[in-house]
Symmetry: C2
Subunit: 104 residues, 2 copies
């Protein structure tokens, strides 16, 4: 399945966010791969982020990532960069976007 969701940055933290994502920790990249994530792009326009990747089962994959101490350290390092998310629908972990078209 191809996943898409949005997050928001603090407008004064954009440069730091970009910089940290040019140098994601090797152990964080390894965790993502081990958890079944591939073709993971993060797009940004101003302070808005669109995150998209491929995985077998989003809930399973993300739950596995969240159990990792590496992820806990990464999220703690990233937390100051984020603004509150857009409104979520019931049961949503993030504001999720549905794939309505795909061409390989």
């Amino acid at each position: 399945m191809r996943i898409g969701f949005t997050l928001k940055l603090n407008p004064d933290k954009i440069a730091e966010y970009d910089e940290s994502h040019r140098a994601v920790w090797p152990e964080m990249l390894a965790l993502l791969k081990q958890s079944g994530i591939s073709q993971y792009s993060i797009f940004r326009r101003d302070a808005e982020l669109f995150l998209t990747f491929t995985c077998e089962d989003f809930e399973k994959t993300w739950s596995e990532i969240e159990k990792s101490p590496v992820n806990a350290r990464w999220q703690a390092a990233m937390a100051p960069f984020f603004a509150p998310m857009a409104e979520r629908k019931p049961g949503e972990r993030f504001p999720m976007w549905q794939e309505v078209f795909y061409l390989d």
Copy 2:
């Protein structure tokens, strides 16, 4: 290069947009492929669209697509579904998002 941009739908045309994208014309799919587009996903949340694909050179690819009568017919069919785009920056064809992270 991996491209990302956003478009907006008329809120009362969402179902028709989704339906048309479950049955994109074979000649339109062929045009996209011939123009060098691959891994093309369109994500939707409510009336917002995020379009992302891979190509060698976005301006060259899109200019080629725009020369095609197939594309002209497709865009004419889709036009009633779209609301005005979000504000564009100087020189932008669409509201473009920059890829700030990629993991294969």
